[in-house]
Amino acid sequence: MSYKIYEINEDLLDVMPQEIRDLQFRATWGNPKRGVMDLPYSKELIEEHSLCAGCPESMALRYILASLPNPEDTIIINSTGCTSLVFPHIALHTVHSLFGNQNAVASGIKRVLEWRFPDKVKDVVVLAGDGATVDIGLDCTLQSFFRQEKITTICFDNEVYANTGGQESGLTVKGHVFKMAPKGKQWDKVPFWQIAIDSGCHYVARLTVSSPKRVETVIKKAIYVAREVGPTYVHLYTPCILEIGLNSDDGLDEMRQRDKERFAFFEYVSEPAKEVIERKKEEGLL
């Protein structure tokens, strides 16, 4: 798609809402070097949202949307959960279809777009919670890795099913008492980043969203590698401040804390992925 498609008919300029005008005059379409540093000066691809005040998921979404190298040709697939409340506010093609089938829907979309537009780059990015990615959707997530689908999967790990009121998930840490785990979670947190590597992902990263610049680099690497090589996976800690009883302004501290332990930055790069990343660095895109 040409970003020019956003240009508003001159006769209508004065009646268009400001947010639409901003998309034409202050958005960052068509610039693969766009990034989180543009956020204060440019139009974000997300409007106000209905997540809890201070929810780290909202920060994560802002950083990710600012980091897409090719937003004008990017499609984001979502699943049911807190994130799905944000999707109607995103100025991109987005799909929410069911709970847990995000990687399957994305596989269909990616394959058809590759077939319909063989000469264009169309990035397909999956973005869903830990329940959607690792519990109910585990089958679809893993099988899309096995099949080497050229999509980027991003998991917002808040270590809980937040949207349904705080139930334990496969990614809750052992011993933690949540609803439906009234005696405390009985087994260990699933190391999904490792499973993603073993299942065929070519770029895998685990991190919190405490550092916007680091999120940007990881997202760009994941998308460039998926575009050329195969599946990539990004595991982000986005704590549910509501369910762990923190104030709206505590999210950042919580993440900085975890940066030193179970979400210490970790990155895996396959051989073919290394080549892509090196090339993108040389091109000044990373």
Binding site: M1, I5, Y6, E47, S50, E72, D73, T74, I75, I77, N78, S84, L85, F87, P88, H89, I90, A91, L92, H93, T94, V95, H96, S97, L98, N101, A104, V105, A106, S107, G108, I109, K110, R111, V112, L113, W115, R116, F117, K122, D139, C140, Q143, R147
Partner: protein
């Protein structure tokens, strides 16, 4: 016939594009001897299909294999095996949202495993085609013919068509895409056929040549934006996200559901044209004894009509080709003057009987008899149908069953 100034258009597979009317009604046809599964392949071959995703389950696996062969031969753009029926129907949704003419096949338990997807398909207004080769649902484990699953599908917001034999199936698959993709319809179509009885039985099928095909799908005519980033995105999801708790969102959700149902209603004139009517009648038009049936139950009822003739009983069959939309007016007309309506079915609950009663309530004096009913793979010999009728009329049952 091509005029001198007309350009000949070919699809990606190199087949000449013709109108659906030409393909279905005018093109010369030749006789072939094939199974229902092979008829699916022949239809897909002439349908300019873009994408198909598959998963094995008896008795539809063969049809899915054959679509894979078409992919190798270049007739289908995208083809792969998904992880499960839930995954497949989700992948199918993705393919269709991305602008592909999409088809898949399944049976029995696969249908139920995939279930959450069908109302999602309808709600996202994708004109996907599912060829459902109906089969028993566990437990106990069964791979045998039975169409109980169709009863579950009736109110998913998908169109439901029912083929009697391989010929019907071939024609319905082509008509199915044509009707489902009308901009004012644009909902999924589930084309049902009885597993084994049709999928695995060889019969004569009249086929148009295979170097002509339907016009390719044009996703830009869809009533919902195609998810290909070629048009500016609206600030909405593919399915408008309306789960906020307020009156407007309730009303939006409710009206969307009505809109999907209305879309099915709007398919009537198209289906009527491309299927040559929503019902088919057989037998003595003045007979007071009427069988209302679909699929192979209709075929068996036709045989029963012949046997009853020998008994001196006049009877007729009203075969329903579409269940959604239900051919309400056609059925009312067709059963005028009927005294007894028998609804023979291949399932234990009698979902078609329920439908017939519901739509005829207050419109017909006839007694509706939900029999005979077989399930679990049992066949329905014409004699079983005859026996039901003879029981009613108090006649001696001569046929040995």
């Amino acid at each position: 016939m091509q005029t001198a100034t007309e350009a000949v258009i070919y699809n990606k597979a190199g087949q000449r594009i013709v109108s659906p009317d030409y393909l279905l009604f005018e093109a010369p046809r030749t006789k072939h001897f094939m199974t229902g599964s092979e008829a699916v392949k022949e239809a897909v071959k002439r349908a300019s299909v873009d994408a198909s995703v598959s998963y094995p389950i008896t008795p539809q696996s063969e049809a899915a294999h054959l679509i894979g062969e078409l992919w190798v031969e270049g007739y289908v753009g995208v083809y792969f095996r998904g992880e499960s029926e839930f995954g497949v129907m989700s992948e199918i949704a993705g393919c269709a949202m991305a602008g592909a003419r999409t088809i898949t096949t399944t049976s029995g338990p696969g249908t139920l495993r995939a279930f959450e997807n069908f109302p999602m398909w309808a709600g996202t207004r994708i004109p996907v085609q599912l060829v459902l080769m109906a089969r028993g649902v566990n437990s106990p484990l069964s791979i045998q013919p039975d169409n109980l699953e169709v009863g579950f599908l009736l109110d998913t917001g998908c169109m439901i068509w029912y083929a009697e034999n391989a010929q019907d199936l071939f024609d319905m698959i082509l008509a199915g895409f044509t009707v489902a993709e009308q901009p004012d319809v644009h909902v999924p179509v589930i084309t049902v056929v009885d597993g084994f009885f049709v999928s695995h039985t060889r019969e004569a099928v009249m086929l148009p040549p295979d170097d002509i095909a339907l016009p390719p799908y044009n996703p830009y005519k869809a009533p919902m934006p195609v998810i290909d980033a070629e048009v500016p995105p609206g600030r909405f999801l593919r399915d408008p996200f309306v789960m906020k708790s307020n009156y407007i969102s309730y009303a939006t959700h409710a009206s969307w559901q009505w809109e999907v149902r209305s879309a099915i209603e709007r398919s009537r004139p198209y289906a009527k044209h491309y299927l040559r009517g929503l019902i088919e009648e057989f037998g003595d038009p003045s007979a007071e004894l009427v069988f209302v049936a679909c699929g192979t139950a209709a075929a068996q009822a036709k045989e029963a009509v012949r046997l009853l003739e020998e008994e001196g009983i006049r009877a007729r069959v009203v075969k329903l080709k579409t269940i959604r939309p239900f051919p309400i007016e056609e059925l009312k007309q067709a059963v005028k003057g009927a005294k007894y309506i028998f609804v023979p079915e291949f399932n234990v609950v009698g979902w078609l009987e329920r439908e017939v009663r519901r739509y005829l309530y207050g419109h017909s004096e006839a007694e509706v008899i939900g029999a005979p009913r077989v399930a679990g793979g049992m066949t329905m010999p014409a004699e079983v149908i005859v026996k039901e009728v003879l029981k009613l009329t108090g006649k001696e049952v001569k046929h040995v069953i």
